[in-house]
């Protein structure tokens, strides 16, 4: 399941660091405008990036095993980082998906009382399922089902067809999250160059969101 290659590990550290920085900067930048307006859409939007940043950081925990052998000359027991990463990544990323979907849909849905309960229960369920199966793949599958359900929900009562530019960007954020999870699995057949390319595109999407936030705030 784990690979050990200093170059790939270095690329992974840089990739995670940049994404986490983008996410936290977006969260911080939107603080003022949220405190001024208490706008629910802004609230969900900024929480998306808070949870996404934490999810990417938690996802990196699987590499602590490899990193510890280089930096500390000590091997962290292989199972510990993986279990920690599975539980945290499952919960945090599912919450991020909920917040992102809800930031767009909250105006259409009159009933929002159970949002906290449903999102937390689903995130905890996915987290437990991942822990029991000890596979990132289960997070991937369950979140994909969740996303398809959210897309179907957003299409109900919709008068116009197609995606706007920003919704397309939101969809890409989730697609590249799934790619980042898939890259944690057995990677036979995925060349390093392709992996790097996907990570660069992913960074480009986060940079685009950051640029748009920076433009306004």
């Amino acid at each position: 399941m784990f690979w050990f290659h200093p170059t790939e590990l270095f690329a992974e550290i840089i990739y995670t660091l940049i994404i986490v920085c983008f996410c936290f900067i977006i969260y911080y930048k939107t603080k003022g405008v949220f405190e001024l307006t208490k706008h629910q859409g802004i609230n969900y939007f900024r929480k998306t990036f808070l949870f996404l940043g934490l999810a990417y950081a938690a996802r990196f925990a699987v590499h602590l095993f490899s990193l510890s052998t280089i930096v500390l000359d000590y091997r962290i027991p292989r199972g510990t980082p993986m279990l920690l990463s599975l539980v945290l990544t499952g919960y945090l990323s599912t919450m991020a998906i909920f917040f992102l979907v809800f930031s767009v849909l909250w105006k259409k849905k009159k009933e929002t009382r159970y949002f906290t309960l449903i999102s937390n229960a689903t995130a905890a369920g996915i987290s437990i399922a991942a822990l029991l199966s000890k596979e990132f793949f289960i997070i991937y599958v369950m979140q994909m089902v969740l996303l398809l359900f959210a897309i179907a929900l957003s299409q109900t009562k919709k008068k116009t067809r197609g995606l706007s530019q920003m919704k397309f960007v939101y969809l890409l954020i989730l697609v590249f999250w799934f790619v980042s999870i898939a890259l944690l699995g057995p990677k036979r057949g995925i060349p390093f160059e392709l992996q790097t390319f996907l990570q660069v595109v992913s960074l480009g999407i986060f940079a685009f969101i950051y640029y748009r936030v920076e433009k306004w705030l």
Binding site: S103, S164, M166, L217
Partner: protein, 91 residues
């Protein structure tokens, strides 16, 4: 038919009305200018007081006036940015 104002627009309109009246207006004319029902206005007014966007002051005769706080002025300055941000990100 005119479009229904959203919450942020209503707040902007109320605060703008106060500013345009030299930052001092009685609550009753403010209700009239706001184009809201008295029930809706009461809710918005309470919210603006709680969030410290406006404050109530009394003159020497004990008459109540509404004035903007620094936070209220800040909201007016930032309004276009906020609207642009919400529209751009489809929130």
């Amino acid at each position: 038919m005119t479009r229904k104002r959203d919450r942020l627009e209503v707040i902007f309109d109320i605060l703008s009305t106060v500013r345009e009246r030299h930052n001092s207006i009685k609550p009753t004319p403010l209700l009239r200018y706001s184009n809201l029902s008295s029930q809706s206005f009461a809710q918005y007014y309470q919210e603006l007081l709680e969030k410290e966007f406006v404050k109530e002051v009394k003159d020497r005769k004990g008459k109540k006036f509404v004035t903007l706080t620094d936070k209220g002025f800040h909201y007016l300055e930032k309004y276009r940015t906020i609207k642009g941000f919400i529209k751009d990100f489809e929130l």
